[in-house]
Symmetry: C2
Subunit: 281 residues, 2 copies
Amino acid sequence: MKLIDGKLIARELKRKLQEEIVANNLNPKLAIIMVGNNAASEIYIKNKVKTCEELGIKVNVYRFDESNYENDIINKIKELNADQSVHGILVQSPLPAKFNEDYIISFIDELKDVDGFGTYNLGCLARDEEKFIAATPYGIIKMLEYENIPIAGKHIVILGRSKIVGRPLLLALLNRNATVTIAHSKTNNLKEITTTADILIVAIGKANYITKDYIKDNAVIIDVGINRIDGKIYGDVDFQSVKDKASYITPVPGGVGPMTITMLLYNVVLSAKNERKKNNG
Amino acid sequence: MKLIDGKLIARELKRKLQEEIVANNLNPKLAIIMVGNNAASEIYIKNKVKTCEELGIKVNVYRFDESNYENDIINKIKELNADQSVHGILVQSPLPAKFNEDYIISFIDELKDVDGFGTYNLGCLARDEEKFIAATPYGIIKMLEYENIPIAGKHIVILGRSKIVGRPLLLALLNRNATVTIAHSKTNNLKEITTTADILIVAIGKANYITKDYIKDNAVIIDVGINRIDGKIYGDVDFQSVKDKASYITPVPGGVGPMTITMLLYNVVLSAKNERKKNNG
């Protein structure tokens, strides 16, 4: 069994991004909208800001609180849409319950939707006309590519069907010629499905749920889960149980996690390149 | 084995649509754009017009030929978008090779995209926020519902990944809690995949390709294929081979085919209802 080292792959990708920014004299800029004071969100934002600074990507964080109206946030989005120096806009999830997150993000210009969560970008994925691919799915694809694990023709089973992981991943893998199965909490006979997977990708948010009985010999296991229990972090896959049966595994932590911010910034740089091309064309 | 009678189900649905139009005093109207003189398209349009007239749906066909510019068609679409009496706009496919079909249909107002082929409507499907579902996938779902064949939790395998059948069907079935696999021309070990299906839906355009070796006992078989050979029509499924092994089959002709126009008009009526609601709200 080989570990897929997400930290290492992310570092490589960040180095390439940095080179690309310098070589093309790009001035990428990301705008982050933070609403309320969720502690986990603060950590994510801190990491995003830090990584932007490492790479030479400008970043501004715009803060709102529960006393604000949805329209305050939407007006800021409209202002950022119109600001030509901004290449990416993201709203840090989750928002406090009083806000309609889907409604708010629907105002982000499709050309600056670097999270790829909007209807337009998902529709493009569904039509095999990819623009921005959401960061976690894209990170998983980059990890498979880095390890030279074939995607085309392989049977890939995805557990979990969220809008930010399972659904975009399903479409992006189909576009890369995989045979894809998507299973979820309503699936009957889950083991019968997962044991047919050449590559099993698990994003269900249940600590250590997938044991060796769920996988076939030499399967590639991608563990998207980040479950915090008593201050420790667990994946969705029981690492000890599967480690002698799988051919590759992503560890938790240090697997898919480190790829996510990197692929977000990959999309910001892509957006800056797209804007350059448009202005030169 | 039971035959799923698409003609009968379509007739029932059309009767209900007709009742709904009368009861709600709707004035649904469909605009069809026809470019060039494809003989098969002429037959499809004739059937659409005839069915509209049967149901009390107004319909206009706007004709263009190869000497027209793309902009002539796009300007007509813009005019129809602005026309409040029109609830659905469709461009009859295929267009002559000089025209970019995807580009042209991207101008159809998302609220009038009754074919459901546009990026917005596919994005809504991908986000589990369904607006218009493309007619053939929707027809398949209505047939399964009519026969009380469960979808939730079942393993459904789709063969074929076109933008108008496989891809929207994948998303619509996932939204209905099926476990869904999508396979295609690049799939390795196709039989291993298809023999695990509770419901197998075949849309590959290869006459009689699927024989009994490809299916499991008591599988439900939905045959989307319409292959014309020497003036005869064949499905993608070898009916004689599978008929004693399957629990249900859609015949060709008389299965999925008759549902398609019906579900298109279902969407036109839905659009008329949506517009009524908007104006009353």
